[in-house]
């Protein structure tokens, strides 16, 4: 063997060893896999930092978990929930665990007491503004005489119940959960559930966080059961939040990918071993794949710091393109008795390099898109394919069989038949009878194509996490919307006033039954304008000489001296509750995420919604009010997915055009048209097939078509370049199609809809590629024209 080949082999082997070391020692231990579909998407650049802060608000929301710990006995539920919460807090997986609310209530009460002359419940302020102080008086007396007022906080320090009204109106909506003692409790039938709110340390879509949190929840459940004593088995724990969904998605996706790829690998190995009658060929194929895969993932890790699951799935199937190169080299051994590794290189290197160039050129286009997920895929391909290709061209000549091989008899017969069919198809009406009708049927299917961009449709189907989420929401009667209002202004007071204009509209919608609830910072921190109005109203109607306070106190038996003393507490001028004071007070702890703060001269808050019936009305409220924007993330994301589906479709069309042009220059117009038939036809058939099957086309389907294109080009070029060695070329293409279909077409059996769509598209596309490439393959140069073709 030429010393040059051997020298290059050792050099590359050393490089591969270094790659393996880097991958195993640096990349693999630190690699986290992202599963949040949203992370694939770009941020709206026009929104700038505001969008970042909104995203971090959403991130805070995604990290929140609600637990309901239930038992038939309130006593046991209470004890078990305390055990559960203590265990969660001790696990270190959570930044924050709230199970007891007494401190929260006390600090809210303290904040109110300190600022009671400038804070008023919305309803009381409305009565006084409407010059109806008698309503306030009547309400206070009704509460005092109510048979169920015994549970009221505050009590006689505040005969009018102004603080209780303010605090009760401010109480963050915990849905149907009621405060009992210092725990939030919800009952159903004879079961009592205690609510625990916890905040994860990291993103629920981070596989590391998922593992840590799942372990912590398991331990907490055990702690709850042991706190329940002998009846621990009857403890029920419900979880709601993004974590269970994300964990379930990661588990099922990883499990499926592992299972399907194991099946695929076993099948591929069986095929290769029976064909090459040695372990060497399949082992080398795996080495090429592993080298390409490690290089792609390592490059992605170093550039992005993490790898997204979908980029991994796509990227690794792109590496599957690399198996084409192995098959092409290995099949060449069957060419004939004069075969040598050197001749193999001369024979297969040009088409391999050419098809790799075409693939890389196509995928480099993905780098241009402001779409993190696509860029990751492009990096996996751009780094992985050349490494896989180099491994085939530099390692195989030394380690693969160095002597020509003979095909097994069954395979030889198959190839002769295939070649005969191919030659026949090329020249006869087979083409008309099979391919043309197939393309026509596919074209008809195109009419039935539907597009799907709703992000919710991409999520996995109902599972335990979804059931539990629904159950929790039923119990809490909580239906937090993904849509929020974003309020922004130049300064803090203007911001609060804008928010109050919005919440006034929202309050009207709540009264009209068109909205369930909302949460806004101004429920706890009113604007200074509103605080001044409250002060003036209190001064005029409540603390005046014969005002509401004096009248009520008189009616419940206070003497004039006590009344005068109480009236004297009212200050001559207001002392306002400032945003800075409020933010620093423990009472604002649960509100702080809603306060996005200041950045670049803009202050912003978020107003969240519960139980919205009609988003259109909310959207129009957002459009009408200055400084207020309605942000419907699901809608926006679906819009983004659509934009990128369209953009990738154009990219695909662009790649076709460039490819056709390049092929026309390289091989002439006629050959280029022939070479373009497999990629064009394959996409037509895959799309038509999806149409007939009623499976909607998503962004991910279009990405799968991009992969199909890459492989179709490989097949067409291999067959064209090796037209004088048709049978080995046919073998290479068939093997490549089979192995890729086995590896990635199996994704069609996934339960995750979008992974299934990718698998189906790839399976149909690859099948079509192979069929069309074989059927349209060019005749050998030496092939004498047959009578049929002349006729």
């Amino acid at each position: 063997m030429a010393p040059r080949i051997v020298a290059r082999f050792w050099l590359w082997l050393a490089a591969l060893a270094a790659l393996a070391a880097v991958f195993l020692l640096i990349v693999q231990p630190r690699l986290t896999i992202e599963t949040d579909l949203l992370d694939l998407l770009p941020r709206d650049r026009a929104e700038g930092t505001l969008a970042d802060r909104l995203a971090s608000f959403a991130g805070t929301g995604a990290r929140r978990l609600l637990f309901l710990v239930g038992h038939r006995s309130t006593e046991i539920a209470s004890a078990a929930s305390t055990g559960f919460a203590d265990s969660l807090a001790a696990s270190g997986a959570f930044a924050d665990v709230h199970a007891h609310w007494a401190a929260q209530m006390d600090s809210a009460s303290a904040l109110y007491r300190e600022n009671r002359f400038v804070l008023l419940a919305r309803s009381i302020q409305a009565s006084l503004e409407a010059n109806r102080p008698e309503e306030v008086e009547q309400g206070a007396l009704a509460t005092l005489y109510s048979p169920i007022a015994f549970a009221r906080p505050g009590g006689s320090d505040d005969p009018l119940g102004l603080d209780a009204s303010f605090l009760l109106e401010e109480v963050p909506s915990a849905g149907a959960a009621q405060l009992e003692g210092d725990q939030l409790v919800v009952r159903e039938g004879d079961t009592t559930y205690v609510l625990i709110v916890a905040q994860l340390q990291g993103s629920p879509f981070d596989s590391g966080v998922q593992q840590q949190a799942s372990a912590a929840i398991g331990a907490a459940t055990a702690a709850a059961q042991s706190a329940a004593g002998g009846d621990g088995g009857a403890i029920r724990v419900l979880v709601s939040g993004a974590l269970p969904h994300a964990t379930a998605a990661t588990r099922s996706a990883t499990r499926e990918v592992a299972l399907l790829s194991t099946i695929g690998t076993v099948a591929v190995l069986a095929l290769l071993v029976s064909l090459f009658r040695s372990w060497r060929a399949p082992a080398l194929g795996m080495v090429a794949l592993a080298a390409g895969g490690s290089a792609g993932i390592a490059a992605t890790y170093f550039i992005f710091g993490r790898v997204h699951l979908i980029a991994l799935v796509f990227g690794s199937s792109l590496i599957g393109v690399a198996i084409d190169y192995s098959m092409h080299y290995l099949s060449d051994q069957f060419r004939g008795p004069h075969w040598t590794p050197e001749s193999a290189l001369r024979h297969v290197a040009p088409p391999i390099l050419m098809s790799m160039g075409a693939t890389l050129a196509g995928f480099a286009g993905l780098l241009l898109m402001p779409f993190p997920g696509l860029r990751q895929m492009a990096v996996i391909a751009l780094a992985g394919l050349p490494v896989a290709c180099a491994t085939v061209l530099l390692v195989f000549p030394v380690l693969a069989e160095t002597r020509p091989a003979r095909l097994p008899a069954w395979c030889g017969r198959f190839l002769i038949a295939l070649d005969g069919w191919s030659a026949g198809a090329r020249r006869s009406r087979y083409f008309l009878r099979l391919i043309v009708p197939l393309l026509l049927v596919a074209a008809l299917g195109l009419v039935r194509i539907q597009f799907q961009d709703d992000i919710r449709a991409l999520q996995p189907p109902a599972n335990d996490a979804v059931t539990m989420e629904r159950r929790t929401r039923e119990l809490l009667k909580d239906s937090t919307e993904t849509a929020v209002f974003l309020v922004s202004a130049r300064d803090a007071q203007e911001l609060l006033r804008s928010e109050e204009r919005l919440t006034a509209e929202l309050a009207r919608m709540v009264e009209g039954g068109r909205l369930g609830s909302f949460r806004a910072v101004t429920q706890s921190l009113p604007s200074e304008a509103r605080q001044r109005a409250a002060f003036d109203l209190l001064h005029r109607y409540v603390y005046s000489r014969d005002g509401v306070l004096a009248r009520v106190m008189r009616k419940i038996g206070y003497d004039e001296r006590a009344i005068a003393a109480e009236l004297a507490t009212f200050p001559p001028s207001p002392h306002f509750l400032e945003p800075a004071t409020w933010l620093a007070h423990p009472a604002s702890e649960l509100w702080r995420p809603f306060w996005l703060g200041e950045s670049g001269g803009t202050f912003a808050t978020v107003v969240t919604l519960g139980g919205a019936g009609d988003l259109a009305e909310l959207r129009s409220v957002g459009a009408r009010l200055p400084g207020v924007r309605f942000v419907d993330r699901v809608h926006d994301i679906s819009q983004t997915l659509m934009r990128y589906r369209v953009a990738v479709s154009w990219l695909l069309a662009g790649i076709y055009f460039v490819l056709a042009t390049v092929l026309a220059f390289a091989f002439g117009l006629k050959a280029a048209l022939r070479l373009m038939l497999p990629p064009v036809g394959a996409i037509l058939i895959a799309l038509g097939g999806l149409g007939w099957l009623g499976i909607p086309v998503t962004l991910f389907t279009v990405l799968a078509l991009l992969l199909t294109l890459a492989m179709a080009v490989d097949y067409a070029i291999f067959l064209h370049e090796a037209r004088n060695e048709r049978r080995t070329a046919l073998l290479a293409v068939t093997l490549s199609a089979l192995t890729t279909a086995l590896s990635f077409g199996l994704l069609a059996f996934s339960t995750t809809p979008f992974i299934r769509a990718i698998g189906l598209t790839l399976a149909m596309g690859l099948g079509a590629c192979w069929l069309l490439a074989v059927a349209s393959a060019e005749a050998p140069d030496s092939d004498p024209p047959s009578p049929e073709s002349i006729a």
């Binding site: 038939r72 006995s73 309130t74 006593e75 209470s78 004890a79 305390t82 007494a102 419940a121 309803s123 009381i124 409305a126 009565s127 109806r132 008698e134 309503e135 306030v136 009547q138 309400g139 007396l141 009704a142 509460t143 005092l144 005489y145 109510s146 048979p147 169920i148 007022a149 015994f150 549970a151 009221r152 009590g155 006689s156 320090d157 005969p159 209780a164 009204s165 009760l168 109106e169 109480v171 009621q178 405060l179 009992e180 003692g181 210092d182 725990q183 409790v185 009952r187 004879d190 009592t192 205690v194 009264e511 009209g512 039954g513 009616k555 419940i556 038996g557 206070y558 003497d559 006590a562």
Partner: protein, 228 residues
């Protein structure tokens, strides 16, 4: 309207039971005696309360008056009020305060509604009332099984003159209530609740009229859902 919450139906039935003869409440030193006699849900329902629970099922409409006294430590004098109530099985309960103020609330299967003049106060009061609704239901219906889950039970007396006592089992309930006592015979005569601040609410039921016939149209109208 069609789906019936069985627990609320029980509550309504219990309100029938609530309608007692208006016998005065027991003396407070009897309370110490009472809380030295622990009991269980099973013992109570098959013993002391058996006749009373049997009586619950017989009436569909119960009307009567109530006298209420709320003793709040920091107030100069107890708050006394009187009024009337109407209980219609399958529909709900109206609790109407007439003196010294006018106020009413209506409990139905759909939940609670307020019909007082203070239209602008409902949210705060609804939250407040909602917080104790479950307890009210269990208490008024003498649902001893439900009460047993939240309270340690005590019982004393005979089936014609009994008293039962309750003390919270769990931290949550103990945060609001110290103890509850209910007195009665064939009907409930009075309920007394002491909260954690030591304030007491005592309700006596008087002049009960009960019958097993249908509620009339005017009575049914009280429980019709009204527009918000």
């Amino acid at each position: 309207m069609t789906d019936q919450d069985p627990r609320r139906a029980v509550l309504l039935a219990l309100m029938v039971f609530l309608a007692g003869d208006g016998v005065a409440a027991a003396a407070s030193d009897a309370a110490a005696e009472l809380f030295s006699r622990p009991s269980t849900a099973r013992e109570l329902s098959s013993g002391l309360l058996k006749d009373a629970l049997d009586e619950i099922g017989r009436s569909t409409v119960v009307e009567g008056k109530f006298r209420q006294q709320r003793t709040v430590r920091k107030l100069p004098r107890p708050l006394q009020s009187t009024g009337d109530f109407l209980l219609v099985r399958q529909l709900g309960l109206r609790w109407r305060t007439l003196e010294p103020i006018q106020d009413e609330f209506v409990l139905t299967r759909q939940g609670l509604s307020l019909k007082s003049q203070q239209r602008n106060l409902p949210r705060a009061r609804r939250i407040e009332l909602g917080a104790v609704t479950d307890l009210m239901f269990a208490l008024f219906s003498l649902d001893v099984d439900a009460l047993d889950r939240r309270f340690a039970l005590f019982g004393d007396g005979s089936s014609t003159n009994w008293q039962i006592g309750m003390r919270p089992r769990d931290r949550a309930t103990a945060g609001a209530i110290r103890q509850v006592t209910v007195h009665g015979g064939l009907h409930v005569d009075s309920i007394a609740i002491v909260n954690t601040a030591g304030d007491e609410l005592r309700v006596e039921l008087l002049g009960i009229v009960a019958h097993g016939g249908e509620a009339d149209a005017a009575q049914r109208a009280i429980f019709e859902p009204h527009s918000p």
